[in-house]
């Protein structure tokens, strides 16, 4: 038996979407919160449902379950607040999940060229092989080069 060196282990958050579990690097996960009011307003980004308000921050809500499991979530128990990094900006996104999340340490196997773009890698945990998700491939966002300059007018907060 070969022991995995401790340095190769990374922290991941396991999240449940319907019957399946997926993982996100713990460094991208900020918080797990109870579902709250969704504020809807006109927009042309169909993947987004609206925004939620959390500690004064307005966070876009995006259900990724249908893309991953083929079904919308029947039950939303929590919203997982995650961050996506674009060049110099962190952008928050809320993802509805259907169950408790779990923090684990595991070694990630890199994705291969035949894997879907949303797969960043693979974990083996509790007898399951779990996809590590690449959020930027599952949620709408700008191409890195198309990012507008940060807003400097008035009190426009960059999140």
């Amino acid at each position: 038996m070969t022991a995995v060196p401790e340095t190769a282990l990374q922290s991941f958050v396991l999240l449940r979407l319907g019957e399946r579990r997926f993982a996100l690097p713990a460094s991208q996960v900020a918080e797990l919160v109870a579902p709250s009011r969704v504020f809807r307003f006109p927009h042309k980004s169909p993947a987004l449902e609206g925004v939620i308000l959390r500690r004064g921050r307005m966070i876009a809500l995006c259900d990724i379950a249908e893309q991953l499991t083929g079904k919308k979530l029947a039950t939303r128990r929590f919203n997982l607040l995650a961050t996506r990094k674009y060049t110099h900006q962190l952008d928050w996104i809320a993802i509805p999940v259907s169950g408790e999340c779990e923090l684990i340490n595991a070694e990630m196997m890199d994705a291969s060229s035949s894997d879907s773009p949303h797969v960043d890698g693979w974990l083996s945990h509790g007898g399951e092989v779990i996809e590590v998700l690449r959020l930027s491939a599952l949620t709408p966002g700008p191409a890195e080069t198309l990012l507008p300059a940060p807003l400097h007018n008035f009190a426009e907060a960059r999140s």
């Binding site: 980004s45 993947a47 949620t139």
Partner: protein, 175 residues
């Protein structure tokens, strides 16, 4: 007395906004961006038809001084179910006269959060960002976002055509 810049920047900056309703949705606009508010009945006599407008949201124009303003139906612009509008905002430094359902109230905005990068559609032109007021989220509209340059070009063409027709018609009547 001169204060160090760090202390000066700690003072919260605020902006007066007008909360207004369009088809049941609440939006905000900087009060500085609104030059004038008029009732729809008040402008009925000033509005001219734009029969050749290819934009569903613009059916009329208004001549004010040497400028032509285009009457934009905010509900159609945002893709909402249009309801009878009751007010018109004349927006400063734009060529937009905005048809809205009504004003909710004036408020003070202390923080404007840029739209999340997850929003990638036309809304990036529509909104300056989002603000939270009384535990509710309100999009803050961009006054220049109601008519793009392309749309203005189309409207100017329609306006020229309408003006030509009107002058021809008046020529016929005077013969």
């Amino acid at each position: 007395m001169n204060f160090p810049p760090a202390e000066r920047s700690q003072q919260p900056r605020t902006e007066q906004i007008i909360l207004f309703r369009v088809s049941g949705q609440t939006f905000a606009i900087s009060s500085a961006a609104v030059q004038e508010v008029r009732g729809v009945d008040n402008i009925a006599g000033m509005a001219r038809d734009l029969p050749e407008s290819h934009l569903k949201k613009v059916r009329h124009s208004i001549r004010r001084g040497d400028r032509t303003l285009y009457v934009v139906n905010a509900a159609i612009h945002f893709g909402l179910q249009p309801q009878p509008a009751s007010l018109v905002f004349f927006l400063r430094r734009t060529r937009t006269a905005l048809l809205i359902d009504g004003i909710e109230k004036m408020a003070t905005m202390t923080r404007l959060q840029a739209l999340s990068q997850a929003f990638q559609g036309e809304e990036r032109n529509w909104y300056r960002g989002l603000t939270a007021l009384d535990q509710a989220v309100v999009p803050v509209v961009h006054p220049e976002g109601f008519l793009s340059l392309e749309e203005l070009t189309l409207l100017e063409t329609a306006q020229t055509s309408a003006d030509t027709r009107a002058s021809e018609d008046s020529g016929v009547h005077t013969q």
